[in-house]
Amino acid sequence: MAKIKFTLNNKVVEIEESPTARLLDILRDKYDFVGVKEGCGEGECGACAVLINDKIVNSCIVPLGTVEGKSIVTIEGFSKTKRHEVLRESFEEEGAVQCGFCTPGMLIASESLLNTNPHPTDEEIKIGLSGNLCRCTGYNMIIKAVKSASKKGDGLW
């Protein structure tokens, strides 16, 4: 057990847990952020994606001990931003959401991509979202949605 202190959705928190605990379990069960989903549990599907210091990671394989001093943003925290609003509207308009299980991860991946590249090409969007699986949409609508958000949200990223 160790005391781990970090920022979670803009709030400083401290927890005493094993450093090898999966960040995903801590977020869902200790902090009730259940927008973070468990899909494959082995880093291949992206449903558990969160941001650590503005960069996407798969929380199902992040050891809790590595987040000491870092800033974590889950979909719940991100949903309070203007950038999320723009992305959400674009996803809705383009029909990029069907069952919705992958959507929190897709939005986190889109945010991470747009943070480093505010105007990505289709190819760059495909690479940016390459670690996120969606079994409903076939991806085209998601790619369109990210493209449309990057236009509409010009200046936000």
Partner: protein, 278 residues
Amino acid sequence: MKNLIPKTYAEALEMLNNDNLRILAGGTDLMIQNRSWSNMLPDFKTGTILIFNLEELKYMVQEEHFLHIGSGMTLEDIKDNELTPKLLVDALKIMASPAIRNMATIGGNIGNASPAGDSLPVLYVLNALVVLESVEAMRDVPIHDFIIGPGKKTIKQNEIIKEIKIPTNNLTIVKFDKIGGRKADAISKISFAGAAHVKNNIIQDFRVAFGAVGPTVVRKYDLESHLVGLTLDDVSLNIKEILSEYGKYIRPIDDQRSNKEYRKEVALNLLESFILSL
């Protein structure tokens, strides 16, 4: 079970000297290999030492004879660093996914010693040295001596991979390729790294390495030396013999990702296309 988080690199070396600990960096391999059920702790069998946040292992420095890459550098940071050789950038770009690359470290990819580790054929071709340190000493080990089998490496219990050293070279032609079931996040069926230098139509330097076609990366120094000094026309004329020589050493296995016939044929096709592109 001890799970320790050192504050400094010196403290990490002490901890490793005092206990039998598994070194855990970004966790992208080890958290999966040791995972239990949802909402349960991974089962590491031994204690662990979490080194991901050691700033002292996150650096890249070019010195006169070597590029030094700290073992704690993530794949994404190395990919985006202007000092990184093009061949390594090309491999990192198509390795895993952005989320994995943000956590996976170069030290971890080497330490995991997977036959299919995508950075490995590149590091073999670049003659990389693995720098190991313990409280007692520091030593350099060529990567092909460091990795001795799937998951097996010559590292002592109290040692840590401190950095990777890449010797300066004048390789002007480089190529990385991999074949996988999906573009992102796929464990390679075959990976290939090639590098060469050609001057006045004569091969000055030639190096190729194959991943996922044997227990460790395959690089044949003697076959490479036969090609040095030949003209490009010579190698084109003798391409069949060169491929058949390499074919003797490419002995892949059947597994859930691919089969041995496919792997061998594609590995040789990649070699052929690299040689003919020189």
